[in-house]
Point group: C2
């Protein structure tokens, strides 16, 4: 008998019919003799609707009151799923984040889980009940309701799996698993059977939406094996776990694409110490995630500082930077939004040279210009024109023959999303 955590997203519980589909799947696991804890998101578009409701009262609501409202979305979905299970004859009990023991800290709309006191959930499991926990939320030590930010339900699930010592954490989603690249961009994309935490982290951070990077980090920290799989059928998906093979068969795991980036150039920055620090400290204070930074010499005594920020943060970034441009005596602020970031990720890069060269070669062959390059130990990212993203993705995918033997790849992919949240980067 195993302890299993299952997480279902908003689409999976978007209607009464779908809630019953989830309930039947959960019940099957329970009837197979497992202890099952389930984490659910709010139904369908509930969270967006609740945001709109609050915004109809005020365009600048306090985070506290917004979190108070948003948390009701999961409170309803957990109770409906528990009710569906009970109706099917399967004992079940719902828990809000606070009741489940999710202790958070930080601002009400982007808090972090600092503790998971899963005593009540364990009791329910030991009493033969399915425990249904609200994703995306918790309460701080004063009982204040916090939300974890979008994608927080994945993190709730992985943290619960860690707290329960669960055998597996299954993330049910509307895709089959993790692909070498978003199949909507490159139809030859191959599903991966396994991927390492680090690779998944790079891919997720670089734009792959299938799993939230915070959840991957949490899984890595607590060695929770995460199984990303489809909520529409029973096939195996992709396991996200620690490195298993001593020798890797493949160098490259996956390609991530991110269209939601804006290039910002602070032109003509005086070549004095502390200029870059001044700019990025201000962006960090404004909680803007900066990625892909390049500093180039414009002419003697002046530099250009280039970087990217997510689309959503553009207005905030502009408001933050305009006074600084004046203050430090830079020439101007240039903003370019028709850019996209393409990243190649693979733990195998550590041992293999030539990946960067291959990537650049593939892009050059397609006559695609690279605007910024950034690398980590297991990733190379290039900023290119948004209109050439698909060509770039196809060229790189083909160059590295990523459609071959995907089962042997320890690799990854990705969805290009409008609401993508990049959690990493320099702050």
């Amino acid at each position: 008998m195993a302890i299993i955590v299952q997480k279902y997203g908003g689409t999976s519980v978007g209607s009464v019919e779908r809630i019953y589909n989830v309930a039947r799947r959960v019940m099957a696991s329970a009837q197979a003799g497992h202890q099952v804890a389930v984490v659910v998101s709010a139904m369908g578009d509930t969270t967006d609707e609740l945001v709109s409701l609050v915004k109809s009262v005020s365009q600048n609501p306090s985070e506290r009151e917004m979190a108070m409202v948003l948390s009701t979305g999961e409170q309803i979905s957990i109770a409906l799923l528990a009710t569906a299970l009970q109706e099917l004859g399967c004992p079940a009990m719902s828990f809000t984040g606070a009741q489940a023991g999710v202790v958070t800290e930080g601002s009400p709309l982007s808090s972090r889980i600092i503790e998971f006191n899963a005593g009540r959930v364990k009791d329910a499991l030991q009493n033969g009940k399915v425990a249904i926990v609200a994703g995306f939320q918790g309460a701080d030590s004063n009982g204040e309701i916090n939300t974890l930010g979008r994608g927080g339900s994945d993190t709730t699930a992985v943290a619960l799996a860690a707290a329960l010592g669960a055998d597996t954490c299954e993330i049910y989603t509307d895709v089959d698993g993790v692909y070498t690249i978003d199949p909507r961009i490159v139809p030859e994309a191959a599903k991966l059977t396994e991927i390492t935490y680090d690779e998944m982290l790079e891919l997720a951070s670089m734009g792959a939406k299938v799993l939230h990077p915070r959840a991957v980090e949490c899984g890595k920290l607590h060695c929770v094996t995460i199984h990303v799989r489809s909520s529409f059928h029973g096939e195996e998906g992709t396991l996200v776990k620690g490195e298993s093979n001593l020798e890797r068969g493949t160098v490259i795991s996956g390609i991530a694409c991110d269209e939601n980036q804006v290039k910002i150039a602070v032109v003509g920055v005086p070549d004095k110490p502390g200029m870059a620090a001044r700019i990025f400290a201000a962006l960090g204070e404004a909680q803007i995630n900066v990625d892909l930074i390049v500093q180039s010499i414009r002419r003697e005594g002046e530099n250009d500082i280039l970087f990217t920020v997510p689309d959503d943060d553009l207005a905030k970034a502009r408001a933050t930077l305009e006074p600084i441009v004046a203050e430090i005596g830079a020439t101007e602020l240039c903003i370019q939004s028709d850019v996209a970031k393409i990243s190649v990720v693979g733990a195998g890069m550590v041992q293999h040279s030539g990946v960067a060269a291959g990537m650049f070669q593939a892009l050059a062959a397609e006559n695609i210009n690279i605007e910024i390059i950034s690398t980590s130990e297991i990733r190379i990212s290039c900023l290119i024109a948004q209109s050439r993203l698909q060509d770039a993705a196809r060229a790189i995918h083909q160059f590295f023959q990523m459609d071959k033997h995907p089962e042997k790849s320890n690799i990854a992919s990705c969805h290009t999303g409008r609401n993508n949240q990049v959690c990493r980067g320099i702050q």
Copy 2:
């Protein structure tokens, strides 16, 4: 500077515009220098919609999961009202029942408040904030979310006023105050300036919907003056308070009408000890509120036992009684639903005789038959044909000249409602 508790019902916060109307009224009290705590219900028909949502998943949901869902209604309305106040520049903070310190016990959908630990609410008030508390809900000592049942928001408000030692508890409603009778039934109805707790309790329990009897009882217990007034204008309403005048000017205070009653007759009950106890113990166990009980001798060795139950409880009452009728050897169970209860209430009755005679005389003059009579120290109730209710109400109102000098009456009234909940009676 006074401490004021204000309660607004679902209609008053039924839209963003209305929420702003409430916010402006609350802000005016705060700007006048008072400490203001506000209790709100869920917006408009939210509670009914949430009930329907749960019922779409299961016709027999568990009370616990239903309460989990229902409590979200107020959680949204408190946060929206707090947001509106903040938008107007008035510091405000919302509290769920659990956060406000409402400790409940009993079943999840009809729990009672056993404690109100208003420390956090007091802190907010002392920090110059308007405190906004979710009505209708609380949490038990294990953190389980409970609701108080319909009308519970009134009770939350009065209990909060007691916990804060508030100077007044204002219940804002869609009527101007308490009338001698529902003006829709008798247009000559007069608004009362004051009414005693006991009178209000009898009227509310007998069908007047303007204030929930539990709230009145709570007010009486803690000597909280309750001001029932309109949320549409600033005129004074009716004060519900302890007896103030040493001598009363009037005998009769108000008339309550209740159409939501069903007459049940258990016919041919053997004349043995314990028969009535058997019947009413079973009804009590099924949590059915029984009212107006009469036992009459049918013939030697056999009695008829007659009583009324609310419409809503009929199915449950029938299911409870049918096996008992067989078990105790009674002849049959007769159910009649075209009946109505009309009650005359007045603390002055204690010192004056002849009220019952006057009531019967007024009904006889209209040729209205009385099926059951029941009395308390300050109330006389008659069960009559539903079709004659309006005639009966007019005749009695006129007979006692209740349209005259209402300001001197210490009296009461009432609304005839389809969802009326009678909380008292024999269980």
